[in-house]
Symmetry: C2
Subunit: 389 residues, 2 copies
């Protein structure tokens, strides 16, 4: 919740925020058949909920995201992961919307998952946490609505895996959202996407410190494997073009050395190794395995005889679909498939392909056209809420 | 050398072949400053060298290639890696050419490299083998010419890293080749290419069985890391389209399972894991590190003030450049850069972009247009040789 802002924080930030832990004491039936009698969600909320409880926006995070989407945690120099897009006067305008961002179950930032206690054993779930589907996240977020007094979402918004959740929301609870914003996403992963995820999982599982997921019992964690997994992901999130611009073929420590065991590195190598190491200290390997599997299994239309048009006929909300020209992990062609199915299903849809050289990462980064597109769409959503009697 | 063919071997195969080990007793000065007083190359040769010694074609292998390019080793059911393109009546026609394919130094199939003895220590070189550049392979191949009695190459031919060697040949020994065939290659790797190679290297080095490259002393090898490295490479050699066609999103062992620890896999996962495991039993990790570094460092024009046109002005041979439409590891755009530099340098060049959905792997696989393009070009090369007085 916003606190008094130190002078150094930017005026268009929600400022100092703290997360809250929401205990949900109602059962959550997972797609795999397991029922969680209760679960907890670590959540951040920005802005004020109106009396009708209908000016809320749900932010759906992606693979490695979490509840800290905007503002600053006390003492931190870096803000939340979507600070560019959430705040007063920003596209997701906290002066108009009540913005809700939970860490979803299965992840590792306070919500129920591999790191929290399995009530049946009194031990952390670790590798025994049940497999998850995107609809499990949606159903958990549905319960969260009631805890927060949200009556309907003015919009459900997400990028990448977050976009998959947003689409799933539009099918599972069509009456509970006005708008669905699907950014840099897809109705299902390609075989290549799955292949990269599988290599990442194998990197984790083949780390001798993995111990079949029971690494905590051995007071260790598969840091090497997780770092590799992140490096693989990271390369696929950047465009070849951007990597060329950012790193080129610059050498870090001089030129080709004489003799063996040269320490020379290209800048890109140094950067990637740093990214891998940083991530492996901050994320949980069992969560990474769970959530990449969720990504692989996501298939919007599977339950509709693989007919995406039939699926989207269930939806009632408006849609904005956004893609980025240099994104090869979730290419614009995947977004156009979504748009085509929405149009064929008679849905109201607005599509923007944003020029960007930032690859898949573009959905997290500043980009004027993207800000305008998202801001314009959500401003209309705000007007619709505010025009209600 | 061809032997009597069993009835079961195809008539257009060079048949049963055996490799020979060629001892080169002249010094080889490597780019890093180390001098190898002598070295050995494991070589296969197909066809007959003419009296002038000028009907020879040098086959340059890529990252994981070796001397066994065509025909069958006795008892093997699978032929050499370029069987589709080398043989009687094939594009690299063994009835007209004397075809030479060495395993290059630093690799792990009999030629001098990490697995062979370092004369200074009496022990295998292992991680102490000096770093290599593509020009070191070219200089070794130059010495091999003399051992085999080859006076000039009718063509130097290679795909991927093999194409880099072929281009280097055209600059280092311009008077010693008539034609240079550069397939699915590039004048230098992109930052993204380097990034994938670095992740592969890190997978190997972070395997606890790597022991700083001295794994043989510990009677082990970093199989897990090498398998991961191969899986990463493999995904980048295939096109997204082909993976979709070949594997789609088919599940291997049933559908999404109930409860935890699901054994369910997509077909692509099973395939990739198999490829990784197969490779890690057949290749040496130190060789993989050496040769990926060679790939990363290759930069055709670095010694020519980064001016590729100036570089190619040194060349005297004709060029054929071939790329494949779905190859994203060595994209057609990289081949067009080669062609543009060759044209600007006034060289004779023929360029073919072949339609293929096979990705980078296309250069190894059957493709009628590719066979025609290569065959037509090399038939002219043969005619030129045969027309000499």
């Amino acid at each position: 919740m916003p606190d008094t802002l130190p002078d150094t924080l930017p005026a268009d930030s929600v400022g100092i925020v703290t997360s809250r832990r929401v205990a949900i004491e109602r059962p959550l039936a997972l797609a795999c058949g397991v029922v969680l009698d209760s679960h907890q969600l670590e959540v951040e909320c920005y802005g004020q909920l109106n009396r009708r409880g209908d000016n809320a926006i749900l932010i759906c995070h992606a693979l490695s995201g979490h509840h800290h989407a905007a503002g600053y945690h006390r003492g931190d120099s870096r803000p939340g992961w979507w600070e560019h897009y959430i705040g007063p006067g920003k596209p997701i305008d906290t002066e108009r919307f009540y913005v809700v961002c939970p860490t979803n179950i299965g992840s590792c930032f306070g919500s129920t998952g591999p790191l929290t206690e399995n009530p049946a054993t009194g031990q952390p779930w670790a590798a025994e946490f049940p497999p998850l589907r995107a609809r499990d996240w949606v159903n958990s977020q549905r319960l969260l609505m009631d805890e927060l007094g949200v009556s309907r979402w003015a919009a459900v918004v997400g990028g990448s895996l977050g976009g998959m959740q947003a689409m799933r929301w539009s099918l599972e609870y069509p009456e509970l959202l006005d708008h669905c914003v699907v950014i840099a996403s897809a109705m299902k992963l390609s075989a290549q996407n799955i292949a990269f995820n599988e290599i990442a999982r194998r990197a984790i599982k083949s780390d001798p410190d993995f111990y079949d997921g029971q690494y905590a019992q051995h007071n260790t964690s598969p840091q090497r494997g997780l770092a590799l997994a992140r490096m693989i992901g990271h390369v696929t999130y950047l465009s070849d073009e951007l990597m060329g611009q950012k790193f080129g073929r610059e050498l870090r420590l001089g030129d080709f050395a004489t003799g063996s065991a040269s320490p020379v590195q290209f800048e890109i190598e140094s950067y990637l190794n740093h990214q891998g190491d940083k991530f492996s200290g901050a994320f949980d390997a069992n969560s990474y395995l769970l959530i990449t599997k969720m990504l692989d299994y996501f298939d919007l239309a599977r339950a509709y005889d693989n007919d995406a048009v039939a699926a989207f006929r269930r939806a009632r909300c408006g849609f904005q679909v956004i893609s980025f020209s240099s994104d090869w992990r979730f290419a614009p062609a995947r977004s156009r498939e979504i748009v085509q199915a929405l149009v064929a299903a008679g849905r109201d849809v607005c599509y923007c392909e944003i020029e960007s050289d930032q690859g898949h990462d573009a959905f997290l980064l500043p980009n004027r056209r993207y800000q305008e597109a998202l801001g314009t769409y959500l401003a209309r959503a705000a007007q619709a809420v505010e025009a209600r009697p």
